[in-house]
Every structure is written in structure tokens, then in C-alpha cells.
């Protein structure tokens, strides 16, 4: 009686273990803005939050008001240039640049021009329109691009303090808004994120 009961329990246990072992990857849809930290490395949430906070700070500074005073009714034109990765991680800075562009354009207070790479493609397209295949009414002229007033550039830096199994990492994002005509720096922004990542030494 006891043996049979034990036997059944064992069979159930083995089946449960087998099912668990055979289970494939589980996939769950999450909100894009949900914070999920897995490895402790720079991730999409860091990129988005830093971009939003820094652009908010940038647009609240005096340079914008001064520009609007000297150019009534005109929004300054900004170009987002390079953000150099000077960190301990392979960070795709293009994601961060796109987050910056999104935060800038959504503010509605500045306009910005296409990036260097994008402009190459756009010029090729416009050049193609000049060959006579495109109707004159819809053809775009070559010399009506808007020149940027300001260039936004920066870097992602890290300071890592590491001992085996744990580390503290400080991400420091520096952005600078420079007036293209004069090369005067109109705004310098800095945002820091600090993370403590620990890996346990033992597990069962």
C-alpha cells in the first residue's frame, strides 16, 4: 500500500520534471516603457530616460529663449551629430541618438534636420528626380535644404569599480549644444546613472 503510494508520487514527480525539462522558451509581451533589468548593462530604458531628461533640461535653458527673442516666430534648427561610446560596454549609440531626436521633435520647440547619413540618401533621391522621370510639379529642388543653427553632440562614459563577482558602474552621459556659426557652447548637459551589479557566488 505504502509502496504503491510512493511509487505513484515518484511517477508524478518524474513527469513534472520531464515536462519542465522539455518546456521551450517562454515569451511574454511587455510594455515598451516597462523597466526590465537583466544583466545590469546599459539598456533601452536607460537610453530613453536619459534622452528624455536631458532634452527636457536642454529646452528649459536660456539659450532657447534668447534665440526666440532674436528670431521671432522661428524655431531653432538642430542637428543631432555623434554620440561617442566611451564606455565599458558595446552600446548602440544610434538607439540613443534616435531617442534624443524623438524627445526633441516631440517637444515642438525646435526643428531638426536629417543626419549626415540620412542626407546622403535624401540627396541621391533628389538627384534622381532631376533626370526627367519625375513630373516638374512634384520634383524637389536641390538647394532648399535648411541649415542647422545648432549641433548636439556628446559621449557616453563609464567608470567601473569591479571586484570578482560584483561591480559598481557609473554611466555619465555628456551632451553639448554648440552654435554652428560661432562654435559657442550654448548648453552642456550631464546625466548620471549608477548601478550596482552583483552575481551570487553559489547556487544550488
Amino acid at each position: 500500500m505504502t509502496g504503491s503510494w510512493l511509487h505513484k508520487r515518484l511517477v508524478v514527480l518524474v513527469l513534472v520534471l520531464l515536462v519542465a525539462a522539455c518546456a521551450g522558451p517562454s515569451v511574454k509581451r511587455t510594455e515598451v516603457d516597462e523597466t526590465i533589468d537583466l544583466s545590469g548593462k546599459w539598456n533601452d530604458t536607460d537610453s530613453r530616460l536619459v534622452a528624455e531628461e536631458m532634452i527636457l533640461d536642454c529646452l528649459e535653458r536660456p539659450w532657447l529663449e534668447r534665440y526666440q527673442t532674436s528670431h521671432p516666430g522661428k524655431a531653432p534648427t538642430v542637428i543631432v551629430a555623434t554620440v561617442k561610446n566611451r564606455s565599458h560596454e558595446h552600446i548602440n549609440t544610434q538607439v540613443f541618438i534616435k531617442d534624443l531626436e524623438r524627445a526633441l521633435i516631440n517637444s515642438g520647440r525646435v526643428q531638426f534636420v536629417a543626419s549626415k547619413d540620412e542626407r546622403v540618401e535624401l540627396r541621391e533621391e533628389k538627384a534622381d528626380q532631376q533626370y526627367g522621370f519625375t513630373s516638374r510639379e512634384t520634383q524637389k529642388s536641390l538647394s532648399r535644404e535648411v541649415g542647422a543653427d545648432y549641433i548636439l553632440q556628446g559621449s557616453i562614459n563609464t567608470i567601473k569599480d569591479e571586484i570578482k563577482g560584483k561591480y559598481v558602474i557609473l554611466y555619465q552621459v555628456n551632451l553639448e549644444l554648440i552654435e554652428l556659426e560661432t562654435h559657442l557652447k550654448k548648453w552642456i548637459g550631464q546625466k548620471e546613472i549608477k548601478k550596482y551589479v552583483k552575481r551570487s557566488r553559489f547556487t544550488f
Partner: protein, 472 residues
Amino acid sequence: MDMSGRDLMKITIKTYQCLNRRLAFLVLLAVAGLLLTSLSGCAGPRKVYSTVDELNAQGDFILARSYVEEHAKDYGKRNRLLYLLDRGMFAFSIGEFREAIASFTEAEELMSELYTISLSQEATTFVVNDNAAPYRGEDFESVIVNLFLALSYANLSEVDEALVEARKVDSKLTAINLQYAENEQNAYREDPFVRLLMGILYEMGQTSTDLNDAYISYSKALQGYDSEYQRFGVSFPEPLVENLLSVASFMGRAELRTVQQRFPSYRFASRADRKEMAEVYVLHLNGRTPIKQENVIVVPTPDAQVVKVAFPSYEKIPGRIVGARLHALPELGKQQFVADFKVGEPIGGIAIENLQNRRVRIYAKTLARVTAKYLAVRKAQREAADQFGGWAGLLTKVTGDILIFMSEQADLRSWRTLPEEILIGKVTMPPGSYQLWAECLDASGGFVEKVELGRRELKAGDKILMQFRTTE
């Protein structure tokens, strides 16, 4: 928490002594079961390595990479790290840098994950042998992974990514250094060659911050060669002094004065002059790193029997090539640029020393395990004899002794596709088109083989990193 060998032995023996009668049998069964698992795991890499070693020795890296990929499963789950390291090394050797990056990146992540020790797996190493645990890699291997990652990115002209690896090396070496007391000798706490390479990469970055980082890297490299690598008979390579002086002159008078105190009459090119020239750094990955061999000793027991105890030790693989000379012939003009290679990284020496440093710990653990197995078998023998008679006791003893004999295997795993040493050569030339090659030399300076490095178009300010490999 670090236990001494004596503590380890006491705890293991005590645990075994606490086992009750039934458990004594169960231990024997567990040993048998785990032995089967262990042996199946050990056979994998050993089987793979007979072919991998042969192809590596022949320098047939293309076939070696295919073979490793086809036999990925034969490495076994516990040796996934070795598979990734071997695959990365062969991919790197044939210039498949994207593939090398993928393998080495996964290897680096796995090393980080394996920092967390599974207690259940670790317990198995006390019952069966050290092969029962996953291979975690040595400290120097974890740094060399980043070196090859940096070189792979540099070969793809992705300097920013190469610099990320350089920063990781800085951080890792600092963490490794912190493990040792300041007066602790013969420990892998600094890697001057990696620092030198990182300095060259930082210089490629061109910004003042990069040059500052380059100065720090070169300075640490020089300190490392002076204090750490003397014991391997390796002194600083020439390019280190040239570059350090040049970057120090950019940093300021105080920095330059500090370096010139050490090298008062050394002539060097300023940063401005170097911008007018092209620099080619060539790494020669020479030979095959030593591989671990099993040393078996037979220890007599109190009941006049013997037990087998197995330890790993390194065996060097002698190579014919010991040096090389770099040649650069311009397309226009006849003046040939020549530079001798010099050893920068004694990988074989580091590996041997690393194992020697852990020798006492390995010995203590092995002896504790063998003693514990021996006591368990004798206890099981007594219990079997008491319950089922003398023959059962004898049968248990014979089975147990065979299991001890078979299960005691030294952990011979290591990243064995590494070179024995890395040499570095540098030529500085005016811009132009150059044919590059290296002449490999034997111990008496005799010519062994010529390695073509191809034609390169060099612009002013170019800094090119390239490499070749010989296993003869």
C-alpha cells in the same frame, strides 16, 4: 571564504564518517553513477582534442574550425567554454573576425555566468573528480579573451568597439590585482602586453582623452614588464618605449621628464612627426601553448592496499620557430623597412605558473577526495560483510577500488589552442603602397619559413594592427 587544504580534508572525511550504514552503500552507488556521468563527460574533449591538436599543429586552421563546429556536442555541456574559445581562436586565425567576435563574446559571458558556482556540481567534484564541474577558465584566459576581441574589432577597423574591450581589460586587470596581497609573488596580477596593445588602440582613438588613456596604458605596461614579466625572462618590446615617449611628450613636460629619466638617450618621434608616417604593428602568434598531462602516483593505504592519485601538470610543446623578422618593401623605391619581432606575451609561461600557484590547493582537494572515497569503500565493505557475508564484503571492496581507480582523473582542461607566445614587431614608414612579409627563424637564426602578409596602402597617420600565426 578560502579554506586551507587541511580544513578541506577534515570536512570531507568528517562528512563521510557521519554517513550511516545504508548511506555507505548509497555513496558507493552514487560514486558509480557519477563515475559514468563523469567519464562520458571527460571522453568528449579528450576525443575531440586528438584531432584538434593535430590540425592545430599542421596549421590547418580552416579545417580545424570546421571540425570544432561539427563536434561542438562532443565537447560536452561542461566544456562549452572550451568549445567557444577554440572556435573563436580558429576563426580569428583565419581572419573570420565577426565569427571570432561572436564566439569570444559568448565565451566572456559564459565565464561571467560561471562565476556562480553550482553547489551540487561542486559537491560532485569531491566525490568523482574535478572534471565534474564546468570549465570556468583561468584569470589570464579571461583577459586574453578581451585581447582577441579587441584585435578582432581592430582588424575590422572598428576602433571604438576595440576600445570598449580595452576598457574592459583595464577593469578586469584591476579586479584581478585586488585578489592578491601586495607582497604576493608569482601571481597573474598584471598583463603588460595587453596594456601595450590597449595603448596602441587608445592611440588610434586620436582624441586627447584617448591619448591620456594611452599614456596610462603604456606606463602600466612598462611597470608590468619591469616588475612582473622579468620572471619569465621577457623585457619590454621596443615599440613600447617609442610610443610611451611620444605620448608622454604630448601629455606634458613633467610626464616626458619622468619617462626620459628611465630612457635618457632614447630617440623618438613626436606625435606631430608620427602623424606624417604610417605605423604597422604585426603580432606573431607563435607555437602551441603547453598542454596538461596527467601525473599519477600510487599511495599505499593502512591496510596494505594502494590508491591512485592523479594530478595535472603542464608539458611544453617544443617548436622550431623562435623568432621572426618583419619586412616592408615599398612599391616605389628600393629601401626596405625591416624590424625584428620581440616576445611580448609569454602565454605558456603564464599558464605553467598559474597551475603551479594552484598546485597546493589541487593536491589538498585530490588527497581529501581520494581519502574520503577510500574510507567510504572500506565502510561499505564492512557493512556488506556484516549483512551478507565475507564474499559480499570482498565484492564491495573490489568494486569500490575499481571505481576509485577509474574515477580519479586529473582535470586536464585548458584553452589549448592558444599560442605559446605572442611576439610583436613594428615598422614605421612614409605613406605609400607596401608589400609586407615575415621571415620566421629558428633558434640559430636560420630561415624556417616566409609568411606573406599582403600588400597594404598606407596613408599618413595610419596605425595598422595585423597578425599571423605559426604552429611549427
